[in-house]
Amino acid sequence: MTFLGMPTAPAGVGQLRGDRDFPSAAKDAVQDEQLRRNLGNATATIRAKRARTVQEVPDWEELRQAGAAIKDEVLAHLDTYLQQLEAQVVAAGGTVHWARDANEANAVVTRLVQATGSTEVVKVKSMATQEIGLNEALADAGIAAYETDLAELIVQLDHDKPSHILVPAIHKNRTEIRDVFRREMKGVPADLTDDPAELAEAARNFLRQKFLTARVAVSGINFAVAETGTLCVVESEGNGRMCLTLPETLISVMGIEKVLPTWQDLEVFLQLLPRSSTGERMNPYTSFWTGVTPGDGPQDFHLVLFDNGRTATLADPQGRAALRCIRCSACLNVCPVYERTGGHAYGSVYPGPIGAVLSPQLTGVKENPSLPFASTLCGACLDVCPVAIDIPSMLVHLREQVVQQDPHRLEAAAMTAVAYAMSSQRRWTWALRALRIGRPFARLKRLPGKAGGWTASRDLPTPPQQSFRDWWAER
């Protein structure tokens, strides 16, 4: 599907679509008691931490508005900033590649790795490469990609999928992680316990080997500064820093919306991101690099810029603000739906509220028609979003597109009938009187069809003898 004729993210590559719709995937997820406990604990902790550190900043609201304004400026002049970025990266000794979609981006990276003769790469945690399915594409070409972010490594070792933007293994507890390590990690002691320090040590030993031998690293980026061509990765563990500095070749992959005009703009985001994301005042590691520095760090640097549905998203005035997203995951942590289902139910690397508006736009709503409905519109996401994306209004807008592009006849007929009854005082008065017919059914514990969803876990209210308007008229 295209919006105004712009190509969307192609099917069959990457992770933007699930193989089931949201309600059916969510049904299984909410029945998993262990999953719900893991998620409930993890999101409650991070929610509280975020609330504390955000509340310390007196001008938080102004910062958010500044963040939104900078991103909107970038989106309005994306072509200019991207060309500036390219020119600066090239001037600093890097090479820039452009990819229309996931397939092209994967092909570029595969070719670049093959050119080095290496069959292994180490990876910095990155949403962009998950979105395009880079690891799978590299594997098809016989190249092994090793995730070096601890949570991402856990997911990779377990042949699982990430379920959270920041903490991809949020759905697993310590015991489950220990089991994955014992089963999948070579050289790990058989009596490994679930003590966090022991788990971290095991991962460190495993990863150190990779860092010392890898000749190629692949990263995403958090920000790209157009004025100097500088790229930035923000992280907690320092493993990203290892990847960004040790190997000879560095390939960074980014969606085209990630560019920022100036260093001064970065100041805003380096305040917004850590507090929103991990609830820290400042993240432990912030790495910057500009092209190639002779004798220091990777001597061969490539930047791969990809679209994969972003221009199509940009074309929709009511949907484009989703491209402001800095992937902090604050909206996931406060979302009452995400808290119950976890990330896998969304079928995309982008779960939660932002996923419900971004994935359908990148793929076209026709290929993700259930996601815009995966929300109660409670508004918690908008309150915490550091770039003030009005996700609830965007969800409503996308629902309208779903109804137009993927109509559900029975629902449309019901909606039309109700609107018809509501559009005349006389019809409405009679419709409300007719509700009385439902009185004997109110005790039913199981209604047929769609209404059965209600009675599965709730009782029905009993319709009254008399509507309010009839009472008022008699009064």
Binding site: F22, K27, R340, C378, V396, E411, S423, P461, A473
Partner: protein
């Protein structure tokens, strides 16, 4: 001052006692309430399900029904939110009097926090998402409740978390909705309250359905009913 009641479609058809209590309360405070019977629905269900076009006639008829009044008051945070936040975008440029949710009207327009009610029961209050995050009513409902004689008001744990109703969400995503409801019911029970109150009949329908199904014996009572009570 001409005040009209927007009773909302759900209260009109399913929970008339909430509308009656709102009338009783406002009249006790010396307000002459009028109910233009041409009113039907704010159109929120249609808009939020993706049928904005079908909602437009409802939005126009809302403006027509309430033309000429100084204030519209409604016992629903969600419907007040729809009128204030959705209507202007759907049908721009309509002349509509300001629409207030009940607690806003009492505190911001009438300037009363003690409405002279008495309600000798243990009550916990669910603040509802749209009152909190669309209207920003803050602690207005609690300020009103704290002034009720005889009430034993107890804090609801995780109060700000959604009850899982979400209009057609409850039908389209019944399992997630039920999981959210189960947590809300558990929190309500943990307070030992006899009554769970809220400023929205829709959320109360969801919470009440869960409380009744699980045999808790806890009743749901709308804010307007407590404030109207002089028992």
């Amino acid at each position: 001052m001409r005040v009209a009641l927007f009773v909302t479609c759900l209260v009109d058809g399913m929970f008339p006692e909430v509308g009656q209590a709102t009338v009783t309360l406002l009249e006790r405070l010396g307000i002459t309430v009028e109910v233009p019977l041409s009113q039907t629905c704010c159109g929120q269900m249609h808009v939020n399900t993706g049928y904005a076009e079908l909602a437009k006639p409802l939005v126009r008829s809302y403006a027509k029904s309430f033309q000429g009044y100084d204030y519209v008051v409604t016992p629903s945070g969600s419907c007040a939110g729809a009128v204030r936040h959705q209507h202007p975008a759907l049908v721009p440029g309509q002349q509509v009097p300001p629409t207030y949710e009940l607690s806003e009207f009492l505190i911001d327009v009438l300037g009363v926090e003690d409405v002279g009610a008495s309600y000798p029961h243990r009550v916990t209050y669910h603040p509802t998402c749209h009152s909190l995050r669309l209207l920003r009513v803050g602690d207005r409902p609690l300020r009103l409740l704290r002034n009720v004689r005889g009430i034993d008001l107890v804090d609801l744990p995780d109060a700000h978390s959604c009850c899982g109703f979400g209009g057609t969400f409850a039908v389209k995503n019944p399992d997630v909705s039920a999981a959210m409801l189960a947590d809300k019911v558990r929190h309500v029970r943990s307070t030992g309250a006899e009554v769970c109150s809220a400023g929205d009949a829709s959320c109360l329908m969801q919470i009440g359905g869960g409380l009744s199904r699980t045999g808790t014996g806890v009743r749901t009572v709308h804010l307007a009913e407590i404030l109207a009570s002089t028992a």
